[in-house]
């Protein structure tokens, strides 16, 4: 049924909402439990109703007519000798109609009970301006002893190189080296390799430090024009001589 047709029909026949609705209204007129209604009687009433509407030249929506045709078929099937080949049989068709009516009726009554309840905002009202309840969340912090120890181990591992303390370490400062080289170079007349200016009794680490500082020292002295340097090639021995 199209909406237009539905609208027309509502206006013309007291707003039946479809053929099933009309059938239910007729069935209830039988004033018996829907399980006990006479389907034949119901069919007669429906067909009578449709004929009456036609006589009054009311425009019936298509699905009312489809239902009328189906009910006419059902009626003849119920009345004529049964054809066992035919499935579903007329009794089952009648049962289906009765079950559908029961279900529609159940929902109609349920709806009526539902809307008749005391409805919030219509029949009963909550407090207009409740203060409200507040939940104050507090964190309960969790950590396990294992996490703590693992964390400390992790930090220790991460910072281990940083934690080495070099208790004592001999270094020759640049000032020391300049003084030492200036002093020694003046006592020599010819070219001397730079290693010859290092202290003879130096340990390995101190010797490295002394070499590095002495190298910078001779560069500084050369810059000042006090010594000259000679080296044949990279990594070849470095010679130092006092400038006249």
């Amino acid at each position: 049924m199209s909406e237009d047709a539905a609208d027309t029909f509502k206006i013309e026949i007291e707003g039946w909402e479809g053929p099933l609705d009309l059938l239910l209204a007729l069935a209830r007129n039988q004033k018996v439990d829907l399980r006990q209604i006479s389907i034949l009687e119901l069919v007669e009433q429906y067909l009578g109703f449709v004929n009456q509407a036609r006589a009054l030249q009311l425009e019936l929506a298509a699905d009312y007519l489809v239902m009328a045709a189906w009910l006419a078929f059902l009626k003849s099937a119920l009345l004529l000798p049964r054809n066992p080949e035919e499935t579903p049989g007329p009794e089952e068709l009648a049962l289906r109609l009765q079950l559908r009516l029961e279900r529609l009726n159940a929902m109609r009554e349920a709806g009526a009970r539902l809307v008749a309840r005391d409805r919030m905002g219509r029949d009963v009202f909550p407090r207009g301006s409740p203060e409200g309840l507040r939940v104050v969340r507090q964190a309960r912090w969790e950590a396990e002893i294992f996490d703590l120890i693992a964390a400390y181990g992790r930090i220790s591992a991460r910072t281990r190189p940083m934690m080495h303390v070099v208790a004592h370490r001999d270094v020759m400062t640049l000032e020391e080296a300049i003084e030492r080289v200036s002093d020694l170079v003046g006592k020599r007349v010819d070219w001397s390799v730079i290693e010859s200016f290092l202290p003879a009794d130096a340990g390995d680490l101190y010797r490295k430090s002394a070499l590095a500082s002495s190298f910078v020292a001779v560069l500084e002295l050369a810059r000042q024009g006090k010594v000259e340097l000679r080296q044949k090639s990279a990594f070849a021995p470095l010679y130092v001589r006092m400038l006249p």
Partner: protein
């Protein structure tokens, strides 16, 4: 004042301030974990019986609301909720008692197509929501009711829907096909 009366005062204040119905555990969270909240609620029920405000139990939740017989005093400055059409009421009932339910299933029960606006009106009222698609050909949308539906109609849960247990027991919430199967099999059994 006795302990029970002190507790009743406390429960009264908490329920009064609450924005939603509260259960026993929620009440205990406010008034004390060991409190005999049920005894306090009984005291309050008696205290409020017949008054303009009533203590109401919905399922296992409690709240205060105005007495239903005073609705006429309260409605005056409120927008009258639009009256639901008959189609609307039936459709709402079918959704509530059968959810989740497709439009085709609603139409099968009502024996008529439902016009476009009927479900829209129910959704606009906040009582009905789409509830996913049914995994059958065409994947039709299903509908279900909302918590706003429950609270508007004063229901604690769908189990409180009027008569739902009887309807289910009578098979009236089963589809016709299933009911036919059962009826015919019963008939067969009777025949034997």
């Amino acid at each position: 004042m006795s302990g029970v009366e002190d507790l009743a005062r406390a429960v009264e204040a908490v329920l009064f301030a609450a924005e939603h119905p509260l259960g026993i555990e929620e009440l205990r969270a406010h008034v004390g974990a060991q409190a005999d909240v049920r005894a306090a609620l009984r005291t309050l029920e008696q205290l409020y019986a017949g008054r303009g405000i009533e203590l109401v139990r919905r399922g296992d939740q409690w709240h205060f609301q105005t007495a239903a017989d005073l609705a006429h005093l309260l409605r005056r400055d409120r927008e009258d909720s639009r009256k639901l059409s008959r189609a609307g009421v039936e459709t709402l009932a079918i959704i509530a008692y059968h959810e989740p339910v497709t439009r085709a299933e609603i139409e099968a029960i009502r024996g008529v197509q439902i016009s476009k606006g009927t479900i829209d009106v129910l959704m606009e009222a906040g009582w009905v929501r789409p509830a996913g698609r049914r995994e059958v050909p065409g994947r039709p949308l299903t509908y279900a009711t909302t918590s706003a539906f429950l609270s508007h109609f004063g229901l604690a849960s769908r189990r409180d829907l009027p008569g739902i247990d009887d309807l289910r027991a009578a098979g009236l919430l089963d589809p016709v096909d299933l009911a036919v199967e059962q009826e015919t099999s019963e008939t067969v059994t009777q025949d034997e």
